[in-house]
């Protein structure tokens, strides 16, 4: 298999890349890691006339924390960079848990977090993680930059709000207000398969009280699902068994799973509940002290 014919440009600067995209309009696509786009082009699900390869753009491979704790991830930061990141391990438990579960180790060498967000696959893991953390995407176009919350960035399966001449240059995770805990759990039939069910949990606690919470679900609906009611119910109280159980019920209630070869809808909904309980039980600061 190979893609249909396209024009290929590999600009050396962001300005040039944006100019090319403007020229290509709706028929242009940005190529970053290519681990989703190239397969789609080979299957002819995508047939862009112009491919703007941004891999030669300088200075986009970073992930770093601002002094206030804001995490910034450049458009060319690969999954493997995040998987091996000490910064993530020490400050971003939800992201650190997700990074080794993205696709498989060879795909992680090329694929990027920002590209995954743009691709907006309802079964993409990073979308849930970034949604649970309240993150955003920074888009740069001819007129400058704008920041778009991930909740508003994805408008449907494989659809985002980027203009044809905009490039997503960075993902941003806001700084925590309290002690950060959480994780990502993914049920998959084998490494590299899409998630049967994925759950991202991010909580911030002050003492034993939850002051912020985010829960998002992968693979159990036509898009990434933000379990806002479940997360909201946690805020203002400690992570008691009862609070955890309630959040798990609320999260399972907003899942919209379909029965398919990966499992029945009932099974998937049950796994959402189980994963929320597991992740929140581990996130409890009281439990951590006891252990």
């Amino acid at each position: 298999m190979f893609p249909s014919r396209f024009r290929y440009e590999a600009p050396q600067s962001l300005t040039e890349a944006i100019r090319l995209l403007r020229e290509g309009g709706d028929e242009a696509k940005v190529l970053a890691g290519g681990q989703s786009l190239v397969p789609l082009m080979k299957l002819r699900f995508a047939s862009p006339e112009l491919l703007v390869d941004i891999n030669n753009l300088p200075g986009l491979g970073y992930h770093r924390a601002d002094p206030d704790g804001t995490l910034r991830i450049g458009a060319l930061c690969r999954h493997v960079d995040l998987e091996r990141s000490d910064l993530l391990r020490s400050t971003q438990p939800t992201m650190a848990a997700a990074a080794p579960l993205i696709a498989d180790p060879i795909v992680r060498n090329r694929g990027t977090l920002v590209g995954s967000l743009c691709h907006a696959d309802p079964q993409g893991d990073w979308a849930s993680v970034v949604l649970a953390l309240g993150g955003s995407v920074v888009a740069q176009g001819p007129g400058g930059r704008r920041i778009i919350r991930v909740a508003d960035f994805v408008t449907g399966p494989f659809q985002n709000v980027l203009e044809p001449d905009e490039i997503a240059v960075e993902a941003v995770i806001p700084p925590p207000q309290g002690a950060r805990a959480g994780g990502y759990l993914k049920l998959e039939r084998r490494v590299g398969d899409f998630a049967t069910v994925g759950v991202a949990v991010a909580v911030e606690t002050s003492g034993e009280t939850v002051i912020r919470a985010g829960i998002a679900l992968t693979g159990v609906g036509g898009s990434t699902i933000e379990a806002a009611a479940a997360a909201g119910a946690l805020v203002g109280q400690p992570l008691t068994a009862r609070a955890i159980e309630q959040a798990a019920e609320l999260a399972a209630a907003v899942a919209r799973p379909k029965t398919d070869h990966r499992g029945s809808a009932e099974y998937k909904r049950h796994m959402v509940r189980t994963f929320v309980v597991r992740l929140l039980s581990r996130a409890d600061p009281a439990a951590e002290r006891a252990a």
Binding site: Y8, K42, V191
Partner: protein, 175 residues
């Protein structure tokens, strides 16, 4: 090397051909490629190195794994034009004229292959691991190879082969 392209049949779109320079198994090459040519096709058809196998052609199986600047990449999922300026290693680059690479010896010693189709990809993924981590645990080997599928062996002997090679490489570097 002669390359024949389909004539798109209209005046607007001339076949976009680009010239790239790269190194493969230490040998410098120049190629003229259509941007839609995949790296796997450049390696197999353009250069004639057929040790790199095409299995699923959908980014799943890892049989086509090669190293690009030392990193394992599924060559069916990278455009050949993106290899411009890069260094590529394939399974053919492992052995010297007189000696097998310890990974190849390991696969022989531990019976790490049956049909052999996945083996080149397994070896290249394993090489990337051992270059970075010369003393991996069994679990680390398993995770590193989790993007490579094998339908024959059940993986047991592949893992043993890689651990065998790791030990040999370590003893060589100490000796």
């Amino acid at each position: 090397m002669t390359t024949v392209y389909d004539d798109p049949g209209d005046q607007v779109s001339d076949v976009p051909v680009r010239r790239i320079k790269f190194t493969i198994n230490g040998v410098k090459k120049i190629a003229e490629v259509e941007p839609r040519l995949l790296l796997s096709h450049l390696i197999r058809r353009g250069i004639g190195l057929t040790g790199t196998h095409m299995g699923c052609d959908t980014t799943n199986c890892g049989a086509c794994t090669v190293l690009v600047d030392g990193q394992a990449v599924k060559s069916c999922t990278m455009l050949a034009v993106q290899a411009d300026g890069r260094e590529i290693s394939t399974v053919e680059g492992l052995a010297t004229a007189s000696e097998l690479h310890p990974l190849q010896e390991g696969f022989r010693e531990e019976h790490g292959l049956q049909c052999g189709f996945c083996t080149p990809g397994m070896m290249m993924a394993a090489k990337a691991l051992l270059d970075r981590n010369p003393d991996p645990t069994e679990e680390e080997v398993r995770w590193a190879l989790s993007g490579n599928l094998c339908r024959c062996t059940g993986y047991q002997n592949i893992v043993k082969s890689v651990l065998w090679a790791a030990e040999k490489l370590r003893s060589q570097s100490h000796g």
